[in-house]
Amino acid sequence: FPVVPEKEKEDIQLAKQYLENFYDFKEEKDSLFKSKNLDRMSKKIREMQSFFGLEVTGELNRRTLDMMKQPRCGIPDVRS
């Protein structure tokens, strides 16, 4: 697999935390299937992009990351 440069790793960690805090994302830590987690995360990214009216790609693009870095309220945007 390509080695993920440090910065990108940070961004992915930030995105995971953001989606856990505000979009009810639950990463299965012990999941053997990395792809399953990636799908799950991609689904939550889509949900967040749709909430903020961003282009819904399911990918962690620059616009999506910038939105995740905005100061905000700590209450989830969606909840189970």
Partner: protein
């Protein structure tokens, strides 16, 4: 807009709040003003009324904290999460927490977060609103610096909060003094106020529309409250102020929020204690003290602090007599006398207005003291009363001060 699952809401109109601690970033008075102004945003479009407690358990407990602070949602240092709040319920329900690691400010600069804006958002959660995905809505999750002077609640937020609590009740939409039909009073029959026919009822306002300012010489003009202030006279109705000053000719037209941004409209009463350079405003069961434009710290306070029993939920009018240092509060057909020196209600009160102010046998909308006379306003009429000789000496139209 959105609400929380099962749409929790407060099952009462009177909700209490308490500020547990303060951020060192701001003056305590500015924190209190920001919080009070945030509550007023929501009370101005719902039947809700908020009372500040100074001890014990309140429905909405407000605090500043950083990092882990005793709930499951630790704060994250500067930036990121600014604050959070819990939906209505007992215990932690309704409470609002602000991240002390942020820089809080009363301004709308870019090197800090405006406490009024964030508090208004968080209190939306405390009342049961979730986030809105409408860009520009107050309940949008991301902080957006904006001008907070005359800040008005966006329609999406009004729709959301009214889905939970409905619009203001008619009686409290704006406490104008819409008179119920009055029984004949001691005035001559020509003066007895007639029942206000439906078409004269003050225009019913929907929360998003503010009533127009009445014309200065409108023969039906009535006032909510009147007070002197540093030699000037301020006449209040709804959100409007008519300012009569010896320093300039004519009448200046303002809004209450242009003088005191955090005070919403609809005062019930107001009076000045000029020796203290202090004006007291009353609305519902709370009162504020201001000195010029500055709201004194620690306000609003419940009117019970002045000595009213809890059965008195609001007052109609107030006026101070600088000669006797007494302030008179008028409620319905009765009045109280308050000693400004001892800061206590006088014994033997309440008394009937008609007993001591011959000829003033009705509810008083507003009262003014000027050159040794009291001016009692009732609907579109005012009654000039010579305090010293205890005599009603003149009846005229309420707008007589506006050079009509």
């Amino acid at each position: 807009y959105s609400t929380f699952p099962h749409s929790p809401r407060w099952k009462k109109d009177n909700v209490t709040y308490r500020i547990l601690n303060y951020t060192p970033d701001m003056l305590q008075a500015d924190v209190e003003e920001a919080i009070a102004k945030a509550f007023q945003l929501w009370s101005s479009v719902t039947p809700l009324r908020f009372t500040k407690l100074y001890s014990g358990q309140a429905d909405i407990m407000i605090s500043f904290a950083s990092g882990f602070h005793g709930d499951f949602y630790s704060f994250d240092g500067p930036g990121g999460t600014l604050a959070h709040a819990y939906p209505p319920s007992s215990g932690i329900g309704g409470d609002a927490h602000f991240d002390e690691d942020e820089n809080w400010t009363k301004f709308t600069t870019y090197n800090g977060y405006n406490l009024f804006l964030v508090a208004a958002h968080e209190l939306g959660h405390s009342l049961g609103l979730g986030h809105s995905n409408v860009f520009g809505a107050l309940m949008y999750p991301i902080y957006m610096a904006r001008d907070t002077r005359n800040y008005r609640l966006p329609q999406d937020d009004i729709d959301g909060i009214q889905a939970l609590y409905g619009p203001p009740r008619e009686s409290s939409a704006l406490p104008t003094k819409a008179f119920p039909p009055q029984e004949p009073t001691e005035m001559t029959s020509a003066e007895a106020p007639t029942e206000i026919s439906p078409h004269e009822e003050p225009t019913q306002i929907t929360p998003s529309k503010t009533p127009m300012r009445p014309k200065d010489c409108d023969p039906h003009l009535s006032f909510d409250a009147i007070t002197t202030l540093r030699g000037e006279i301020l006449f209040f109705k709804d959100i409007y102020v008519w300012r009569k000053s010896p320093y300039f000719s004519g009448i200046e037209h303002d809004t209450i929020s242009s003088f005191w941004p955090s005070l919403a409209g609809g005062f019930d009463a107001a009076y000045e204690v000029d020796k203290k350079d202090r004006v007291i405003f009353f609305k519902d069961n709370q009162y504020w003290a201001v000195s010029g434009y500055r709201i004194e710290p620690g306000f609003p306070r419940p009117i019970q602090n002045l000595g009213f029993s809890t059965s008195v939920r609001k007052i109609d009018a107030a006026v101070h007599d600088p000669n006797t240092k007494k302030t008179y509060f008028f409620v319905g057909q009765k009045y109280w006398s308050f000693n400004e020196n001892t800061q206590s209600m006088e014994r033997g009160y309440p008394r009937k207005i008609a007993a001591d102010f011959k000829g003033i046998g009705h509810r008083v909308d507003a009262a003014l003291q000027r050159n040794g006379h009291f001016y009692f306003f009732h609907g579109s009429k005012q009654y000039e009363f010579d305090i010293k000789n205890k005599k009603l000496i003149h009846i005229t139209k309420s707008y007589s001060w506006f050079n009509c």
